[in-house]
């Protein structure tokens, strides 16, 4: 589904990603872990098409298409979803207007008519249950005044509505208490299927107790320095990142 080949990304003149190779197949869950500043969020943003990241080298092939040719909105319409580490508050744009515009933009791209109002409300009700989101939240402006947990739930709620093929969840677990973590992970698990794939970006192993990954990668200094199965996450939990850092720095 996703093929990243020797991807190098700059922010201004600074090279953040220094040659990433990653292959994700349908049905898989990949976890990307790594210490702070290793480039995890840069990778997520580059996949979603944030324009201040400058791709200097390499390719991102998604479903046979060169992703870098697509605008952020077209990537979303092709089925890529980014769950934000810091979801943006947008005062004055109501959740309902936002979600309806989003869904209908996707439908239009697929040549479908806009969703009738009744069906839209029904869909919202249905998906709200997945993340146990408060009805009241959808009557407010996008993320405005939401608590940290509510913002993250809202991301998963949007994911449930949009049914992406490839979901990239950037530090979705940060700032969540144990209940919110359970709800968010349940949401993600319910949405797993053999047709879609998930990339989970996280600093801690904690989330991976709930969402079990097929592959775990360690990102350090802009490169994937280690890949393994879920036991790698356990190892990192026990020993921290120090041993990997030492290993990599010794070889450098």
């Amino acid at each position: 589904m996703l093929e990243i080949k020797d991807l190098k990304v700059n922010i201004e003149d600074k090279e953040i990603l220094k040659g990433i190779n990653l292959s994700v197949k349908a049905g898989e869950v990949h976890a990307i872990m790594g210490p702070n500043g290793s480039g995890k969020s840069t990778l997520a943003s580059a996949l979603a098409g944030r324009d201040y990241f400058n791709i200097t080298h390499g390719k991102i092939i998604y479903e046979g298409k060169d992703l870098t040719e697509l605008t952020p909105e077209d990537r979303a319409r092709e089925g890529i979803f980014l769950g934000f580490q810091y979801p943006v508050e947008i005062p004055g744009v109501s959740m309902v207007n936002f979600l309806r515009t989003s869904i209908n933009s996707m439908r239009k791209y697929r040549g479908q008519d806009p969703l009738p109002a009744g069906d839209f409300l029904k869909l919202m009700r249905e998906k709200k249950k997945i993340v146990e989101i408060d009805s009241d939240l959808t009557n407010r402006s996008v993320n405005e005044g939401f608590s940290g947990g509510e913002k993250k739930k809202n991301e998963i709620f949007q994911m449930a509505l949009l049914e992406p093929k490839l979901a990239i969840l950037d530090e979705t677990d940060s700032g969540l208490d144990i209940d919110a973590l359970r709800i968010v992970s349940n949401g993600v698990n319910k949405l797993r299927s053999p047709e879609n794939a998930t990339i989970i970006i996280t600093h801690y192993q904690r989330l991976l107790d709930y969402i079990v990954p097929d592959v775990v990668h360690v990102l350090y200094k802009g490169r994937i320095v280690k890949s393994g199965d879920k036991s790698l996450a356990k190892e990192l939990e026990e020993h921290g990142y120090e041993w990997i850092k030492q290993e990599v720095d010794a070889n450098a």
């Binding site: 952020p72 004055g92 402006s141 996008v142």
Partner: protein, 450 residues
Amino acid sequence: MQTLDKYLELFQKNRKQIGKDDPPFMKKLRDTAIASFRQSGFPGRKEERYRYTHLEPVFDGELSFDFQPRQIHFDDDEIFSCDVPLLDSMVVTVLNGFFHHPGKEALTRLDNGIIYGSLKEAIGQYPDLVKKFLGKNAPTSDEPFVALNTAFSQDGIFLYVPEGVRMERPIQIINLLLSDKNHMVHHRNLFVLESNAVAQVIICDHTLSPHMFLTNSVTEAYTGENADLDLLRLQNEHNNSCQVTNTWISQERHSRCQHGTITLHGGIVRNNLRINMVGEGAETSALGLFLTDKMQQVDSYTVIDHRKPQCTSNQYYKGVLDDISTGAFNGKIHVHPDAQKTEAFQTNNNILLSDTAKMYTKPRLEIYADDVKCSHGATVGQLDEEALFYLQSRGISKEEGRLMLMDAFTWDVISKIKHPSLQERITELVGKRLRGELSRCNNCAMHCQE
């Protein structure tokens, strides 16, 4: 010849024609006004108040001026469709500054004592009533354009709401400009609300021919004790026009006033607003929203005078500027020594959509009392790039996302408009304007531009 001399000469030469049926008090008012204007002249480039809008060259242009209403025969329905058609309002039409009332009374007095119609007619029929108010709150020494208007204005709308009377329907004043050459208009409105009276007034401006129009209008409003005035102005002249509005409002004890200015189109627009709180516990809110592109210039200048204790004022002005348009906001809150327990707030937020649009904002507080709550804040920025990316990441196109963010930005002001159907209509008009779908000829059926 200097522009000032041109106007002094225009006045002297036509002294007999200008207000030829004037009662003595009006003659005196005009003489005082022209004397003030002779002294002040047009505000120069160095004058702080007019730093960003230089109007003398506009007044210096070749412009016709009418001393009597022109006999233009037209059917309102045929050439003009209103911007706010669903509003159940009493509509009065002003054509080139004169009350337009073919086949109807120039002045109407309703059973409940409400009087509305031509100001000129009111001066003739109710000289004592008009004399008590006209020019009292908008002194000609304060503002050159008020002086100029007082000297030259021929007509406009008069509204009188007696004590305790609540107007059931809003009055909608439609200012139409229609000419076969470049034309200047000075018109004048006077609204009087006695104590406990309630009124809502909507003023719309429209240009119906492509000629350059220069309008210099004065609106004076008096709100008596515990009276309630809602005054909304919708500016939608074409971009080859220049409009100077002067709105002077005086508020007695516990009166409430809501003033709003929505500017959709217009070449050079200067809005002077002065609210004079002369009674204790008065409340006022002033809203402003302007959307500019191309070479438009919109300049808002407000002064809120807190003269008595326990008055509240809230100013909320927003602008969205594109292309090489220019905006200015200069807002002064003046709290006089007597005005303890004043609460005065002012916000001015602006968004620049291009690198070449310019916005000048200058909030000013002058406080001479010690027990007050006042704040002001001004911002000039761009659309939030993070928010835009968030929308895009959900499949919403950049264009649509920008519009959603602009709608949200403007909704902050529009949501404060009280009348629901008016709020709805303005939302629609502003939305269309932002989408570039609102032509200034939308409400004209003459299709002269197409």
